[in-house]
Amino acid sequence: MNNLEFSSYLLIVSYIAGFLGALTGLGGGVVLVPALVLLFRVDIHYAMGASLISVIATSSGAAAAFIREGYTNLRIGMFLEVGAVLGAIVGAFVAALLNAHVIAVIFGVVLLASAYLSLRRNEETESDRPSHPWAMRFSMEGVRPTLTGPRHYRVHNVPAGLGLMGLAGTLSGLLGIGSGAVKVLAMDYAMRLPYKVATTTSNFIIGITAAASAGVYFTRGYVDPGLTMPVMLGVLVGSLTGARVLGGTKSHSLRIAFSLVILALGIEMVYNGVAAAV
């Protein structure tokens, strides 16, 4: 395959990944790296570099629209980002110490976990218990727009959220993904934020977390311009159209289908990593 053909195929696959990632809220990076490694036979380090940059582009593109809608909670975002940024730097350094097979296996396990989490998610997890003391101390409670006017929400289990954010950041730096699934888990499941607040706040900080590892990725030579160019452009345009097409509508069956794709990719990544290492 020559460079022009390779770039064109990559552009199309990245567009689809970005489109489905935005529709389902799982993000494009989680399928991009396996697609690059398994379909295009790209070394996993280059794949992680291209994916990390695409994650930043997607987050920046989508966040602009979400802030306007009034769902994003910047206080919660910045508080949790402390854990995520530190995790991201640790993850990026650890990535350099591990060989490609080990990273592939970890990646596969994360894919399996993401698919599982996404399949078993409950829609409404809000609770009327009083907020966690840290949430009061750091004034995290917020108001979100609803059809019947603004509605106040509480914030629970902040330490668990912060811990999960550290994990999300570490995985982001280690694997070059946005870790959207773990971030939403932290805010939706642990802190019991309204789902839309959790996803939009996650989307806002994903790019910042990824930027923390980007310096290490550039220095180690993971970011190849020829490879990243079609991937970044494809994912960016794909995620913008995905967000526009179904902005807000629930796409339950689509999410299940996408989760099954992720499940299959996860099994394949684990199998490939183990087979190559033996």
Binding site: N2, N3, A57, S60, A64, A211, G215, V223, G226
Partner: protein, 123 residues
């Protein structure tokens, strides 16, 4: 008070949109130049060699881009995209400053410092 907050939020949104557009255009323009010269070449991304030293540092990337090399221009667009995240965090700090929320000003500036060290010491 509320109107000035909305203005800053709008500015964060505008900065994000403008930054992504600028980075995307640099990458697309560099990509065209790159493919113009290298369209027929075979690709070999299956072996990791790492980028040449020039494309690993900010100074090197700017230098390459100024020679209008396709790869240099793409890389400049990618660095710009990362740098834009710092602007986003700085604007968020400003938002908290206007709200006189001292705790969050410090939290946000702390994140900004970590990002800056990570990007400029490594990049």
């Amino acid at each position: 008070m509320d109107r000035s907050l909305e203005r800053i939020e709008a500015r964060i949104g505008m900065t994000l949109t403008a930054g992504v557009l600028l980075a995307g255009m640099l990458v697309a323009f560099g990509g065209m130049l790159y493919l113009l010269h290298h369209a027929g070449q075979p690709v070999h991304y299956h072996i990791f060699r790492g980028e040449p030293g020039d494309l690993r540092t900010i100074g090197g990337v700017v230098h390459e881009a100024l020679t209008l090399s396709g790869r240099g221009l793409i890389q400049l667009g990618l660095v710009a995209l990362v740098a834009e995240q710092l602007v986003r965090v700085a604007l968020t700090a400003w938002l908290f400053m206007v709200q006189r929320d001292r705790v969050y000003v410090w939290i946000t500036l702390g994140i900004l410092a970590v990002l800056a060290v990570s990007l400029f010491r490594n990049g």
